[in-house]
Amino acid sequence: MNLEEIKSEIEANVPGCSLEIIPNGSPSGQHSLLVDPDHAFAVAGFLRDAANLRLDYCSNVTGVDWPAKEVSTKVKTKKVVDGVEQEVDEVLKTQSGGYLEAVYHLFSVEQRQGPVVLRMRTEDRADRVHLPSLTPVWRSADYQEREIFDLFGIIFDGHPDLRRLLMWEGFEDHPMRRDYVDPDDYEYEPTAHDEVLKRAKEHLSAEGGL
């Protein structure tokens, strides 16, 4: 069953949900299905229990951080310049990213198929970072969602025990975000270069140099 069929099947069975297929450019061909957070729980339950899918095994759950960035694409447009139609390069600037994503890789043990990739996106990266937890559907998401909460800062509503998994209680940052800044501890770097050298130099200048 390909992703198109799965999509139409879900749409027929979970009313009101909006789905979108995110194409994947790599030769792996693992396209994914973007689910809106409001219906994600129902969709997940359907995928697990539907007789012809039985995606009972949620293998991998992970987060991805997509900070907001401006993507400029060159588009050739036809324009009338000085009365003559000409092809002109126009730079289109589009905003992309600016959200956190949770990705679920689903397999079926019973029917030996997969992976079906589910994605959910938060509204932004600051405070509207809530997504529904799918742990009640697949228990295997338990620790992995906690890890995403810890490292990316997505808050999973409905998770039975949402605490930090890897970092200590009281740690404030979400280190897997791409704009995370390491604590400054570069006293001794005999072979520093690139990024490390830059940070080491910053450390030194903060200390007043040597």
Partner: protein
């Protein structure tokens, strides 16, 4: 007593020794390590105690699970920031005389993981280390080699004078600050009593921009 006389006496069946030699011999031949592994290097540490390498031949027969009964802490593996307070606390709980072998790149400097946000850049930021073994992971033979070096160091220590062992010098500390979890990092990030940054430094060793192409 000079060596010649001593070996002469030895041939006659008389053992002559000084208190210092006897004391150091006793110390160096009964170094019991703490049964304490952190990461990859711990597997090589276990391999070193197994039949093929047999660390027990040097008096390190018993790995003690309790720090109170151990003399040697082999920091075998990456010390993360989450683990560092526990490591320091274990060290503090050990009874003097106590030694630390820092086994593997991670325990020395953070090694390949030193750029990680949760990795301590070397356990010597918090506790004094006696022997460093480079390697990722060091071979079991390298651990034995380091152990022999430690024994040699113990053997050469004088029991009096300014360089006497720490446990015979009441002024020197035996316990060190246990760091606490802060909001972004450990507090304090290093113990300045132990961690003395040398003059080898980035401003000297780092790239001078002109030499780069």
């Amino acid at each position: 007593m000079d060596e010649q006389l001593k070996s002469e006496l030895g041939r006659q069946g008389v053992v002559a020794t000084s208190l210092q030699e006897l004391y150091n011999w006793g110390r160096k031949c009964s170094v019991w390590p703490l049964n304490f592994g952190l990461a990859c290097c711990a597997i090589e540490m276990i391999a070193a105690t197994m039949a093929r390498y047999d660390l027990a031949r040097f008096g390190a027969e018993v790995f003690r699970p309790s720090p109170r009964q151990a003399d040697l802490m082999i920091v075998a593996g990456t010390v993360t920031k989450k683990m560092a307070p526990q490591v320091v606390r274990l060290y503090n709980q050990m009874a003097e005389p106590k030694y630390v072998i820092s086994m593997g790149a991670c325990a020395i400097s953070g090694g390949p993981f030193k750029q990680g946000y949760n990795v301590l850049k070397g356990i010597d930021r918090y506790i004094p280390v006696d022997v460093y073994i480079p390697g990722c992971p060091p071979r079991p033979e390298a651990l034995i080699d380091a152990f022999l070096l430690l024994q040699k160091m113990i053997d050469e220590q004088r029991l009096t004078g300014p360089n006497r062992p720490r446990h015979l010098n009441a002024d020197l500390p035996s316990e060190f600050i246990v760091p606490e979890f802060g909001a972004h990092d450990l507090v304090p990030p290093q113990n300045p009593e132990v961690w003395k940054v040398p003059l080898v430094n980035i401003s000297i060793a780092g790239k001078n921009e002109s030499g780069r192409d």
